[in-house]
């Protein structure tokens, strides 16, 4: 039998900055059998989304399909008229986008949008479509399936929206479903639930799928075959097991290596009595203060932490847990409502204004997005040179020499000196961002998600650089990330934050073993492993997650999601941190197991 999808020599052109057409997909061919899922993997700019959209005969604004053929069943998609394409889209081929929050129309109810395709194509009448939608909601394990459709998109969480979008795609029983990075924007604990829902939906309906992602571990759970793309070319196509076990191409091997970052070499710590950074009872929040002097919206609550000289502390937690706010409070950008920050035994002022220039110099913050952190109109030389003048009064040739040293340190060519951030690649910009922070010769470097916006291979190179800098400069760092694999690769100690509270502190080497706090356990077990069948082997969570309820001021912040919760204790008393024999600190009422 002929494959259901056949793409042959597909070419897509985009209009470049100079108005000339630039080919962004350069002769891509592959086939997908009915009922199979093909994974398209590649870095940004590899053309993976463009190829997936071409399956629907669609090219984004400024792009056009310039050559090759796309066949689905008996239909040559590339030869269809606009009217015929409309009949295909949403009916025979459906699309699930990366950001469900952006892909739902904010002005229409969820139900109206979910059944829209069925109504447009006339496959079902209104009542039948609604009924079917509710059935799909149930199949996707969406809570309150009967009534959730009457809500507006902003009233529903991101993970639920992503599953609602899958229901929207399946409403017409399409032959082909395109998944375009559907879990990339989600927290790992949510990602699992969504992946499971997708997988069972694909299996139950014998759907043919195209799964686009940059995450090899995710695709290994879903795809039967994988096509590796780079710069608009196919690197290789193979069955998933084959590709993971014996990749044919060098590039694929690099991707695989970067997906499971090795632990970077780390310098031996000098045991000193006092830690370099000591944070005690730090509470930071927004809104006004209440009668007890606590912020109305606390983001970080009573956090204690310490970092020794030369140590790298990782801070991990899902979005909104207060990771970045913690770093901002330590740096003085967000003055805390309570608690103190000590550096080298000296208590620092709460805000920037209360700190001396020398104290400001000692703590430097590296932001996640170099695009917004670097002034686009200023040359790289000036960006790095400014802190040199500000903190050390360097000028002229002396300053130039130091700037060149810093470029050298961060492996940037001297040719970038007179260029502006816009002329640099993402990885280079992040290096400039680091060089700017290092220019101040800080004692403590706070890195806030510095690799999160980068492609896997570029991020791996930045991790190498950070490890090297630690060795050469003896830097003390706090490394914030939502990605456990990154943290494990370069940190000594790891601090797990949940809803602003520290729930567990443990050595990075102990991450792979199970954590002790129920949230840490859930978090660690949610990170997809790079082998097939990991998802299927996971036990179902004992209690459904309800992400938004962790607001109470009393009791354990994880109470509502915890499978070990004890009514009467956990919802009343904040669990105090306890030491375990293995050197872990766990904040949980439950008796700790070995």
């Amino acid at each position: 039998m002929a494959p259901l999808i056949e793409i042959r020599d597909l070419r897509v052109e985009a209009r470049g900055d100079d108005g000339q057409p630039v080919e962004i997909v350069k002769g891509v061919s592959f086939t997908v059998e009915r009922g199979e899922v093909m994974g398209l993997i590649g870095e940004s700019g590899s053309g993976k989304t463009t190829i997936a959209l071409a399956l629907m005969g669609y090219a984004r604004f400024g792009c056009r399909i310039s050559g090759g053929t796309v066949r689905i069943g008996d239909t040559e998609v590339t030869g269809l008229s606009e009217a015929a394409l409309r009949k295909l889209r949403g009916r025979r081929v459906a699309y699930i986008a990366q950001s469900a929050a952006a892909s739902f129309n904010p002005s229409r109810t969820i139900m109206q949008q979910v059944i829209e395709a069925a109504r447009i194509h006339g496959t079902l009448d209104e009542a039948a479509a609604r009924e079917k939608a509710i059935g799909l909601f149930r199949a996707m394990a969406i809570p309150k399936a009967e009534t959730i459709g009457e809500r507006y998109p902003h009233q529903v969480s991101g993970g639920q929206l992503q599953r609602l979008m899958a229901a929207m795609a399946l409403i017409t029983d399409p032959e082909v479903v395109i998944f375009d990075e559907p879990t990339t924007a989600l927290d790992v604990t949510t990602q699992i639930e969504v992946l499971k829902a997708f997988k069972s939906a694909i299996r139950d309906r014998n759907t043919t799928g195209i799964y686009v992602t940059h995450d090899l571990a995710v695709i290994a759970q879903i795809a039967d075959s994988i096509t590796v793309l780079r710069h608009g070319f196919v690197q290789e196509t193979a069955k998933t097991g084959m590709l993971l076990a014996s990749p044919a191409q060098e590039y694929t091997r690099n991707l695989l290596a970067a997906a499971e970052p090795a632990r970077r070499e780390r310098p031996a710590l000098v045991e000193t009595a006092a830690p370099l950074l000591k944070v005690t009872g730090l509470t930071v929040g927004y809104g006004g203060l209440d009668a007890e002097g606590m912020p109305l919206v606390p983001v970080v609550r009573e956090v204690d932490l310490a970092i020794r000289q030369g140590e790298a502390l990782g801070v991990i937690g899902e979005s909104g847990c207060g990771k970045s706010t913690l770093a901002r409070a330590i740096s003085g950008l967000a003055p805390p409502a309570r608690g103190t920050v000590e550096l080298g035994g000296k208590v620092l002022g709460p805000g920037l204004a209360q700190r001396s220039r020398e104290e400001l110099r000692e703590i430097q913050l590296v932001f996640q997005s170099a695009d917004t952190a670097l002034n686009p109109r200023v040359s790289i030389g000036e960006i790095i040179g400014r802190p040199l003048t500000f903190f050390f009064g360097l000028k002229g040739a002396e300053r130039d020499r130091r700037v060149r040293e810093l470029l050298d340190l961060t492996h940037l060519p001297a040719s970038v000196l007179n260029r502006q951030p816009g002329d640099l690649s993402g990885g280079q910009k992040q290096r400039v961002n680091l060089a700017r922070a290092l220019a101040a010769k800080p004692r403590l470097l706070l890195c806030d998600e510095v690799t999160s916006a980068l492609d896997t291979l570029v991020a791996a190179a930045i991790l190498d650089l950070l490890a090297e800098l630690r060795k050469e400069l003896g830097l003390t760092t706090m490394f914030i990330s939502h990605d456990l694999k990154t943290i494990r690769a370069i940190c000594d100690q790891v601090l797990v934050l949940y809803a602003g509270r520290v729930v567990e502190t443990l050595p990075a080497s102990a991450i792979s073993a199970r954590g002790h706090h129920p949230y840490a356990k859930l978090l660690f077990s949610s990170v997809p492993a790079l082998h097939q069948g990991w998802l299927d082997g996971l036990a179902a969570p004992a209690m459904p997650a309800s992400a938004t309820e962790a607001q109470g001021r009393e009791g354990c912040t994880f109470f509502h999601r915890c499978e070990l919760r004890m009514e009467g204790t956990c919802d009343r008393i904040v669990p105090p941190p306890r030491q375990t024999p293995e050197g872990l600190t766990v904040a949980c009422h439950h008796p700790l197991e070995g």
Partner: protein
């Protein structure tokens, strides 16, 4: 739920009232700074100082400004704008006789200009980047740049003088049939439409282009929705806020900013009344007209705000 949106709307209303009060104070201060004196103006240059002083006293102009301000403000709150200094008639009556005409002209212009502007703006947004889009873009820039007296004069020259299709002056007294009405209003409405349409069309295009490039519009396309459905069902509800604001802004011009058009076509509207008031130093009339324009402007802008709030489900269902 409804409480929060009620608070939001109440807030808008209070802000509008506060603005109106601020404007009233400003209007009072500025009109009192105007050079010239109504008594002097009425009696002519040969009047004796005693006669001028007597007239000033009888007109109440000798009272200290702050007292006059309070009296005037109190009158405004009760709906009494005082009496004209020139002919002694209540200002309310003077305005009342003209307001209907102004509203008629504004209404007809709005009926022509708003749908036309929306259609042009929507079409330009949908065909973004096409020759048609660029033509509308150029045309609207041109229309905004040409002063209205030039448009009005050119229209008179072409349609009244050369072609002799339409009368050069708008005489409201002689309307009996629809055709009469058309002939009277054609030129002023055409001129005003030309002036206010460009702004609305451009804002509509900008708002819609913004919405049309969002992910949920791409999603709708990939569900197989037709172009008409995408614009009407998906895009427009999300563009109501900025479009309503642009419309309110343009329409507010129709009440206060049409002085030149009313003058050229000799149309008996409010703006012309105000200009006459300034010429004769009839302060109460000028003040009342200014307050009327500001009030209309605030009313329109507040209505647009309310429309934007009601159209946004994030504000409607909090």
């Amino acid at each position: 739920m409804t409480g929060s949106i009620g608070t939001l709307l109440l807030g808008r209303l209070l802000a509008a009232i506060a603005t109106l009060w601020f404007v009233a104070t400003m209007v009072f201060i500025i009109t009192n700074l105007l050079p010239g004196d109504v008594a002097q103006e009425l009696l002519g240059q040969s009047a004796t100082p005693e006669a001028v002083a007597g007239l000033r006293k009888s007109l109440g102009l000798d009272v200290p400004p702050f007292e006059r301000y309070l009296t005037w403000l109190g009158g405004l709150v009760r709906g009494d704008a005082g009496r004209s200094l020139v002919n002694g008639m209540p200002v309310g009556d003077l305005i009342g006789s003209r307001l209907g005409n102004s509203l008629l002209l504004a209404g007809i212009t709005a009926l022509v200009a708003v749908p036309l502007a929306l259609a042009l703006g929507i079409a330009a947004a949908v065909k973004r980047g096409s020759i048609y889009d660029r033509a509308i873009g150029m045309g609207t820039v041109l229309a905004v740049s040409v002063p209205e007296f030039l448009v009005a004069s050119a229209a008179v020259l072409v349609f009244a003088v050369h072609l002799r299709w339409l009368p050069a002056l708008s005489q409201l007294g002689r309307i009996e049939t629809f055709w009469d009405g058309f002939r009277v209003f054609a030129l002023p409405v055409m001129t005003l439409t030309f002036v206010i349409m460009a702004q609305m069309a451009r804002m509509t295009r900008a708002a819609l282009v913004d919405v049309l490039s969002s992910s949920y519009i791409e999603m709708a396309k990939l569900k197989g929705a037709s172009a008409a459905r995408i614009v009407v069902w998906h895009a427009l509800p999300n563009a109501i806020g900025p479009i309503a604001n642009a419309i309110a802004f343009s329409l507010s011009f129709l009440l206060g900013g049409v002085i030149i058009v009313e003058t050229i076509f000799n149309y008996p509207g409010i703006a012309k009344l105000m200009v006459d008031g300034v010429a004769t130093r009839d302060i109460p009339l000028v003040q009342a007209c200014a307050m009327l324009f500001c009030g209309a402007y605030l009313l329109l802008v507040t209505a647009a705000d309310v429309a934007a709030i009601l159209a946004n489900p994030r504000l409607r269902h909090r």
